[in-house]
């Protein structure tokens, strides 16, 4: 076990998988130079220009080219930089990557990984700050993962590269330099299973990605008030581990769903609806669903803070499920 940042853990995963399988290569902008924020640091000199392939600013080529290369038996890792830029390649991701296997009656496998960083991080404004996971988890044919810590980032990226399906790996900007223990050796985390970073009895807090850091902070404060929170880290949004959430809610009877994306129609809405359908009788209080208001991300630090999910929000939501007099 060693301490690595999220970014280092990801580079380690890439480098181990490229070493393990000569079919794996990376495709994207500025990769030879280490990628933005050093996301591919050291890989170009180690693997050369035919494994770390620099492209012009051509997102439709990066994603569409991956289809052709994958259909030929290679295993591309596409760097789409910032989630907002993924929208430029929406046809390639949604109409081509997600559908070619299905449309062709299963004739091909498309082992494509798309990596993209996302989320609010220091006044980058409306076109560099979006949390778009809900757009993509609506698309059949894609898998969508959003790891919350360095160990999962490494283990899930390795699983994604080995997966014969297209996997979109979302990486929250705020987590990039966050450190955490990462197991040594060939550490692979299966895609599609939630984890329980904290067990508890009174209220279930479901979140993912940076939301888990906030949930852990909130749970610490709740513990001081003798409220025991159970945290579910979804980790993977497709497949979504409905079972883990249902099981926890059956135990606690209370549910807070916290997501940084727009609340309307988001991941939280899906979880809340599922619990309302499948575990209604176990609920002791109405579900509380946290998410961003229906507005683009503003530049002003003051207004940006206003729409950010916080540990405070999660703490208050949990208290609300425990009884109105606690808030």
């Amino acid at each position: 076990m060693k301490e690595l940042t999220y970014r280092q853990a990801v580079i380690e995963a890439l480098s181990e998988e490229m070493e393990r399988d000569p079919r794996v290569f990376c495709l994207g902008e500025d990769l030879a130079d280490g990628g933005i924020s050093g996301r591919y640091e050291g890989l170009a000199s180690r693997f050369g220009p035919k494994r770390i392939i620099d492209t012009p600013i051509s997102e439709t080529f990066i994603a569409g080219g991956a289809v052709g290369a994958a259909a030929r038996g290679l295993r591309p890792v596409c760097e789409l930089r910032i989630a907002d830029f993924m929208l430029v390649a929406m046809d390639e991701i949604v109409n081509q990557i997600a559908k070619l296997r299905f449309m062709s009656g299963g004739q091909c496998r498309l082992p494509i990984v798309i990596r993209s960083v996302y989320g609010i991080w220091g006044s980058m404004a409306a076109q560099h700050s979006q949390s778009l996971e809900a757009l993509f988890f609506q698309i059949p044919g894609l898998k969508v993962i959003d790891p919350s810590n360095p160990a999962d980032a490494k283990g899930m990226l390795k699983a994604a590269i080995r997966d014969d399906n297209p996997v979109l790996m979302l990486e929250r900007k705020a987590l990039s330099e966050k450190k955490g223990p990462v197991p040594d050796g060939d550490f692979v985390v299966p895609i599609g299973r939630a984890s329980i970073p904290m067990e508890g009895e009174d209220v279930t807090i479901v979140s993912y990605s940076f939301g888990i850091s906030l949930a852990l902070e909130a749970a610490g404060r709740l513990a001081h008030r003798k409220i025991s929170a159970e945290i579910i880290d979804l980790r993977s949004l497709t497949p979504l581990d409905y079972g883990a959430v249902r099981q926890s809610v059956k135990k606690t009877g209370r549910l807070v769903v916290a997501s940084e994306g727009v609340r309307k129609g988001g991941v939280g809405a899906e979880i809340a609806a599922d619990i309302a359908e499948q575990a209604f009788r176990h609920l002791k209080a109405p579900i509380v669903r946290l998410g961003a208001p229906f507005v683009p991300v503003p530049f002003s630090p003051k207004l940006e803070k206003l729409i950010c999910l916080s540990a405070d929000d999660i703490e208050k939501a949990a208290l609300k499920t425990m009884g109105p007099d606690l808030i």
């Binding site: 070619l100 449309m103 004739q107 409905y242």
Partner: protein, 328 residues
Amino acid sequence: MAYSNEFLLSLYTKMIRIRKFEETILELEKSGQFFGLYHLYIGEEAVAAGVCANLRNDDFITSTHRGHGHCIAKGADVKKMMAELFARQTGYCKGLGGSMHIADFSVGMLGANGIVGGGYNIAAGSALASWITGGKQVSVCFFGDGASNRGTFHEALNMAALYKLPLVYVCENNEYAASTATAKSTCITRISERAKAYGIPGMTVDGNNVLEVYEAAGYLVDRARRGEGPALLECLTYRHFGHVRGDAQRYRDQQEVEERKKNDPLVSFRTMVLENNLVSEEQLANEEKEAADEIINAVSEARLAPEPEDCQLFENLYVYEEGEGAVQ
């Protein structure tokens, strides 16, 4: 250039199969037996046949919404194609794709595409695979004059030229993007001129003359295979029927259509080989009969084949692990 009797006949075989396939669809459509969208290739057969005659089985193509001709020319099985149009289990896509998504990966046909301009990058990615692995396979991307105005054209051609990918872009200029005439949508008269912007060769040929297409494509495919980079080949042709089923074609005169139909690639090829005694009337008639019989059989078999089972809806959405249920 002198061509063998066998080679000339092989070109005709492809063209006549495409023609009969499409004519059969027209007949089925008239009798109300078809559903969904399909786009007929009648009038453009010389392009697919001439280009694909240069390709090996392990070369790759990407196609368009108007893809039946490309499939047949690359060696796809008309029975599986017809079964797909009937939405049968025995179809290429097991009834999940239909006309606009027919693919045959075993012959390097990476798929028709319902998105205009969707093939440029897929073909470039296939060519990139050759570049990465050092393989000699060439990739060909068919597209239309309308698609040449998509932004993906620029991203793919720039990347392909930058890395000298083994790739030929083949524009089938049939003069109409759905209902919009090329002159109303495109600011140059020759789409091949756009090659200059990428520093690659651009050529325009008579797309109704299969030998002219064959020779030009042959030059560009060989060049790509030698590692000299991509090229843009524009083939001037004409779509004899509407853009899609139910197209009333108010955008062009019937007189124009009749006039242009006189330059039918199959008729002119037939006349040329007969006048020069290169192929006999009997040989051509044989090919015509064989193609017609093959398509009739394909229809009969498709009619009898089973529709997909309900469980097949999810079967090929993902590659599942053993014991894994449907992904949700």
